[in-house]
Every structure is written in structure tokens, then in C-alpha cells.
């Protein structure tokens, strides 16, 4: 009996140990890890295309995020972007470094030596030769090149812009019309655990001639240009284009008459703009009108100028006016003279003219800056009647308080059309008026659209830089 109990205990013990061993074996099986389970899923649908509306040297990449993006044990923390780069690019980098060294050496050497110039010329020729071979080198994929990381984006982002400067001497130079190939690695917190995507490419980058983000500007140019041509042609055919009277313009003739009666000269200041500024161009037309009257009345005219080009144009304008008035012999070369291109030195000189020559009339038409009040106040001191016109908003207050008549902003442009009555000027003025009417209508429509949920109309005026 005793032996049977003992046998039963032994059998039970053997049985339990076997079960335990089996359980232990089972437990050991679940602890064995599959290496593939540590690697994240790759990104999919990697696509690349040339960046729009640029001068080239830029590629946009996009992809669908890895399913392990920011989640789970295989959480993707970032995406590394790789580009296949031919070894020829390294040779170009070596040449660029040599050019940099030569430039530095030439600068350090105070007397520029002919040797360095020859060296630089040679190196630049070599670099140009290498750059010409870039397309062929890229097309040789997968030979003679390697994958290199060109960027990184954090998890959650599925796009990347790979761009470089257009300067061929820059180490980041990205050539156009080369077959680029990209891949994107999904990377976990352990840099060594990553999964590569399929290769995307070939992708080429190139510049665009037309920036489609600026279509509103194109439409505006076409519409306004058409309006101007239409109105100018109507003016040339003799249509009576009405322009409302502007008090400052009507005072010009009176002021010229006043100067003639008093026997004192007229001072005409064209401002500090260049010959390419709109205000200065408008001022030339008014100067022509004033000069013609001055020639008819045989009054003296003083035109001190700030810019040499403006002086040249003003001389031509005044000379033509004297010819039109039938008094070419009355034209004096010293009427229009250059003073200086320093702002306050010019003002000092003009102030001196005002107080010494005591003009009866001062006419300020053009682009002015901080000197506007200096000129106007000195004119008041000299007892001159003053007529001013400028499109500089910051200077208009000073002219308004110190001058007898002021042409505000666009009235200066209208003055040139009103006085000259030339078809081109009148036509462009009418076109501007129609454009203003269009602005008002578009503003009203845009207000209605933005306030009543019609964003497509508001987006029509969105201009991309």
C-alpha cells in the first residue's frame, strides 16, 4: 500500500513537471522576436514633379505616410529623403572649392595677379565642362553614383521641396533638365531601423516662363491696356472727352501772368525723382505747357534739377516749347541746370535761389521727400505764389498747408492731360477713370462675395509671389 502511494506521488510529480516543462517551452516560443516586425512600413505612392511658377532648380516630392507614422512599437519618427547623386557632382564640388581658394588668395594678395586670373578662368572652364555632363551622368543611373540624404521631415508630413540656388558656383547647385531619382526612408527612433520606399523618378526640374499665380495681373494688364488703346483711339478721332476742372491747374496760367506783370521769374521744381518716375513724367508735360506760356510772355524761367537725366529731358522739353511758341531765340541754355544729387544740398541751393532771385511763382511738380516743407516754407518767406503737385502721400500735407494750390496724387497726372490736351494723355486719363469705376464695382462684388460665402470670387484676386 505504502509502495502504491509512493508510486502515485512520483507519477504525479513527473506529470506536473512535464506540464511545467511544456508551459516553459511554450513561454520560450513567444519571447523569440521576428526581426521584420521591428521595421516600420514604408511610405507609398512617392511622387515627384517640377515645382511650379519658379525659375527652376526645385522639385516637389509627396508621398502617403507610413501606416506606422507616430504610432505603435514601430513608430516612425521622421522621414529621410535621399537622392541618387552621380560621382561627377563630387568632381564639380572639388572644382568649386578650388575656385573659392583662388578667389580668397587673389583678395589677400593686394595687387591682383595675372596668375590668379588665369587660374580662375581655367577652373571656371573646367566647371562649365563638368556641368554640361550632368544630364548624362544622371541618366547613367544606377551606375557611377550613390544615394545621399538631401533632407528630412518629421513624422506626419508627407511632402518635401528639394531646391537649390541657380548659382553654378554654389555647392547646393541643383541643375535643371537632369533625371533625378528619389527615395524616402521611414525612420524610427533608432536610426538604424528604417524602411526605404520605392524609387521615384526620373524627375526633371526646369523654369517656367509664365507664373500662373499671377494670372490676375495678366488679366488686369490686358484689360487696362485694351481700355487705354480704345480711349486713345477715340481721342485721336476727335471725340470730346470731358475732364472736370481742377482748381490748381487753372491757377497755373494766372500765376504765370502774375509773374510776367511783376517782372519776376518763375521757379519750376521737378522734384527728386528720376526720369522714369510717373510723377516726373507728368511734370515734364506741365513744364512744357508752362515753358510755352513763359516763351509767349517773355518771362524768365528757372528750372534747377536734381537728376542729370531729368535735366536732359527737361532741356529738350523747354527748348521744344520755345520752338512751338515761335521764339527759339528766347531759349537760354542756363534755364534748366543741374544742381547736385544730394537731397538737402539741392534744397539749400533752391532755397538760395528763392531768396535771392525772388521768383513770383513757384511750381513744385513731381516726386518729393523730406525737403517739401523746406521748399514750401521758404517760398512763403519769399512771397511767391505756390502751386504744388505730388503723388507722395507723406509730403502732401506739407504742400497743402504751405502752398496756395495743391494737386493731390492723381490730379497731378490729370493735370498733364488737362493742360496738354494731347489725345494720348486724354485717352489714358479716361482709361484710368474707367479702371477706377471697375475697381469700385469689383470691390462691391468682392465685399458681397466675402460676406456671403463666395470664396471663389475672392480667390480670383489672390496673387502668388
Amino acid at each position: 500500500m505504502k509502495n502504491k502511494c509512493l508510486m502515485a506521488v512520483v507519477l504525479l510529480l513527473v506529470g506536473f513537471s512535464g506540464v511545467a516543462a511544456e508551459e516553459e517551452a511554450l513561454a520560450g516560443d513567444t519571447l523569440v522576436t521576428d526581426p521584420m516586425l521591428l521595421f516600420p512600413a514604408p511610405v507609398t505612392n512617392l511622387e515627384g514633379r517640377d515645382s511650379d511658377n519658379d525659375h527652376g532648380h526645385s522639385v516637389d516630392l509627396s508621398w502617403e505616410l507610413s501606416p506606422d507614422d507616430g504610432a505603435g512599437q514601430r513608430s516612425v519618427m521622421k522621414y529621410d529623403i535621399f537622392r541618387w547623386i552621380p560621382t561627377l557632382m563630387d568632381s564639380a564640388d572639388v572644382i568649386r572649392s578650388a575656385i573659392g581658394v583662388a578667389l580668397t588668395a587673389r583678395e589677400v594678395d593686394e595687387v591682383p595677379g595675372a596668375d590668379w586670373n588665369d587660374t580662375l578662368r581655367f577652373l571656371r572652364d573646367v566647371l562649365d565642362t563638368l556641368i554640361v555632363q550632368f544630364p548624362a551622368a544622371h541618366a547613367a543611373y544606377p551606375n557611377d553614383g550613390e544615394w545621399r540624404r538631401v533632407g528630412m521631415v518629421p513624422s506626419g508630413e508627407g511632402c518635401f521641396e528639394h531646391s537649390g540656388p541657380k548659382d553654378r558656383l554654389s555647392s547646393d547647385f541643383l541643375p535643371d533638365y537632369c533625371d533625378f531619382r528619389f527615395r524616402v526612408d521611414a525612420v524610427t527612433s533608432d536610426e538604424s531601423i528604417r524602411t526605404s520606399s520605392d524609387v521615384a523618378g526620373p524627375i526633371q526640374c526646369y523654369g517656367q516662363w509664365f507664373n500662373s499665380g499671377r494670372k490676375p495681373v495678366l488679366v488686369g494688364v490686358l484689360v487696362f491696356g485694351f481700355l487705354t488703346i480704345l480711349m486713345v483711339s477715340r481721342a485721336r478721332k476727335g471725340a470730346d472727352l470731358y475732364v472736370r476742372p481742377i482748381s490748381g491747374i487753372e491757377a497755373v496760367d494766372d500765376a504765370i501772368g502774375r509773374a510776367t506783370e511783376m517782372g519776376r521769374p518763375i521757379l519750376y521744381v521737378l522734384g527728386l525723382g528720376t526720369a522714369a518716375d510717373v510723377a516726373t513724367i507728368a511734370s515734364f508735360t506741365i513744364l512744357g505747357r508752362v515753358a510755352k506760356r513763359v516763351a509767349e510772355y517773355q518771362t524768365d524761367l528757372i528750372v534747377p534739377t536734381y537728376d542729370p537725366i531729368v535735366m536732359s529731358v527737361a532741356q529738350e522739353v523747354v527748348k521744344s516749347s520755345y520752338l512751338d511758341a515761335g521764339r527759339p531765340e528766347g531759349y537760354n541754355e542756363d534755364t534748366v541746370h543741374f544742381v547736385t544729387q544730394s537731397q538737402f544740398a539741392y534744397v539749400a541751393a533752391v532755397n538760395g535761389i528763392m531768396l535771392r532771385q525772388r521768383p513770383a511763382t513757384n511750381i513744385y511738380m513731381g516726386m518729393f521727400h523730406a525737403e517739401s516743407l523746406l521748399l514750401a516754407e521758404t517760398g512763403v518767406e519769399a512771397g511767391s505764389i505756390q502751386i504744388a503737385g505730388t503723388d507722395q502721400i507723406a509730403q502732401l500735407p506739407f504742400f497743402i498747408v504751405a502752398c496756395d494750390y495743391t494737386l493731390i496724387g492723381e490730379e497731378l497726372y490729370a493735370a498733364s492731360a488737362y493742360l496738354g490736351r494731347e489725345p494720348v494723355l486724354l485717352g489714358s486719363l479716361k482709361a484710368q477713370d474707367y479702371a477706377k469705376a471697375a475697381v469700385v464695382m469689383l470691390a462691391l462684388l468682392g465685399l458681397a462675395a466675402s460676406n456671403f460665402a463666395l470664396p471663389w470670387f475672392v480667390n480670383l484676386f489672390h496673387v502668388i509671389d
Partner: protein, 274 residues
């Protein structure tokens, strides 16, 4: 020149010399070029006061300062233009010999007509000095004016027209666009605080009406009578209020320039303030 003029000029000269000597003495302890610096500071103060004397009336000192200023500035800008543009930008790209003569680094590059066109146009412009060939200068002048006008056309159309139009698309019925949910919702959510909805609405309405009436004022194809005239009147009021604000703001800036000059006189010249 009468006797009083001689006396005034003499007094000014004596004061100038006295100031120079005193200034040089005060600088002698810390500056080894004290005589030169004493002269420069005295000269600066003298020229400042000479220009300020214009506030009284025109006088020989102002004339001297004015002519000195005009002459020096004209010469400065001429040499600056020559050395920075012609010598700095053009010659290094055209000729190794000239580059060596002017001691500037030569920038060897393939022959490029783009560098020679401005040379030719510049020479044509200088033909203005000739009575016989002066007409040639009209070509570069026409190119300058026409090219810049054409380039500016697109630039101004974008910045001064299209962007301005889109900037007037302000919400008139709510703080943000597309929030109009009926009159009842508007009144129930009405907020009369300074930073609330009502203030934003008032601001936007003022912007809208100011732009509208300002454009009406600058409309030249119609007489400003009737409703049109009243809108034009509102427009000019808006303009004048804006000019007044701009005037006050700019005057503050000009006063700061005066403060700078007075500080120089009292600190650097007279050493009355630290």
C-alpha cells in the same frame, strides 16, 4: 561791404579760431590728432549754425555753407558713381588691363554683349555735350524712360491695383467673413466692447466708405454734383484727416533730427551736456 559787415565777419572769424583752439586743447589729452579733430568739430558746428542762420534771413555765411555743401556733394556723388559703378562693376568685367590700372580684381568671363550695351548707351548719353551730335542722346533717354515705364506698369498694377482691390474685401456683417447668420443671430451676439465685434465692424465700414468716396473724388470724367458731389466731399474729408495724421507723425520725426543736431552742438562742441 560796409563797416558792420566787416565787424560781423571779424567776430565770426575770431570766435571760430577761439573755438578751434579751445576744442583742440580739450582733446589734447586723449587724442593725438587733436588739432585736426578740433578743427573738424568747430567747422561742423560753424556750418550747422550757418545753415540755421537762414531762419533769420539770407546772409553770406549761409551762402558759403550752401555753396560748399552743393559743391562737395556734387563732387562726392560724381566720384562715388565713377568708382562704384564704372570701376567697381563694369571695368572688372571688360578688361584685365584696365582692372590692373585701377587696382581692382579682374573678373574673367566670356565676352558678353550685355556688358557692352550700357557702355555704348552711356557714350551716346554723353554726346549731349556736343552741339552737333547731341541728338544721339535722345535714344538712351527714350530707352531709360520707356523700359522703366514698361517694367513699372506690371509692378504697380499688381501692388497698387489688384492687391488694393482684394484688401477692401473686408467683412461688413461680422468679425470674420461668411458669418452672416441672420439678423437675430447678429443682434444676440452683438458685443459693444472696444475690441469686440462692433468695433471691428465700424472699422471695416469706415475702410469701405473711405475707399469708395476717395475713389469718387479722383473721378475726373464727371462733374462733382449731386450725390456724386457729396460722396466726393466725404472722400476729400477722409483724405484731409489722413494727411493731418501723417503731418503730425512726420513732424515728430523731423523734431528728432533737430534734437540730433542740437545734441551735437551742446555735447560734442560746447561740452555742456554729457
Amino acid at each position: 561791404m560796409n563797416r558792420s559787415t566787416y565787424i560781423v565777419v571779424g567776430v565770426v572769424v575770431v570766435l571760430f579760431l577761439l573755438s578751434w583752439i579751445l576744442k583742440a586743447v580739450s582733446l589734447s589729452g586723449e587724442d593725438h590728432r587733436y588739432i585736426l579733430h578740433g578743427f573738424l568739430i568747430t567747422m561742423s558746428a560753424f556750418l550747422t549754425l550757418a545753415i540755421f542762420s537762414f531762419l533769420y534771413r539770407d546772409n553770406p555765411f549761409y551762402k558759403f555753407a550752401e555753396h560748399l555743401f552743393v559743391g562737395v556733394s556734387a563732387a562726392f556723388w560724381m566720384t562715388q558713381g565713377f568708382w562704384s559703378t564704372i570701376v567697381g562693376n563694369l571695368i572688372p568685367r571688360l578688361s584685365a588691363g584696365f582692372s590692373e590700372f585701377f587696382m581692382v580684381p579682374h573678373q574673367p568671363s566670356p565676352w558678353n554683349i550685355a556688358y557692352w550695351i550700357p557702355v555704348i548707351l552711356g557714350i551716346l548719353l554723353l554726346m549731349r555735350l556736343s552741339a552737333k551730335y547731341g541728338w544721339l542722346s535722345r535714344w538712351p533717354l527714350a530707352l531709360i524712360v520707356g523700359t522703366t515705364a514698361g517694367l513699372n506698369f506690371v509692378r504697380y498694377l499688381r501692388s497698387d491695383f489688384i492687391v488694393q482691390v482684394s484688401s477692401t474685401f473686408v467683412p461688413l456683417l461680422g468679425r470674420e467673413p461668411h458669418q452672416w447668420q441672420g439678423g437675430g443671430a447678429f443682434i444676440s451676439h452683438l458685443d459693444l466692447s472696444a475690441t469686440g465685434q462692433l468695433a471691428a465692424l465700424l472699422t471695416n465700414w469706415i475702410i469701405f466708405l473711405g475707399v469708395f468716396c476717395g475713389i469718387v473724388y479722383f473721378f475726373f470724367s464727371k462733374e462733382h454734383t449731386g450725390v456724386f458731389g457729396r460722396a466726393s466731399r466725404v472722400g476729400i474729408w477722409v483724405l484731409m484727416i489722413t494727411f493731418g495724421a501723417s503731418f503730425g507723425y512726420t513732424v515728430m520725426g523731423r523734431i528728432s533730427l533737430l534734437v540730433g543736431r542740437v545734441t551735437f552742438l551742446f555735447r560734442d562742441w560746447l561740452e555742456l551736456i554729457s
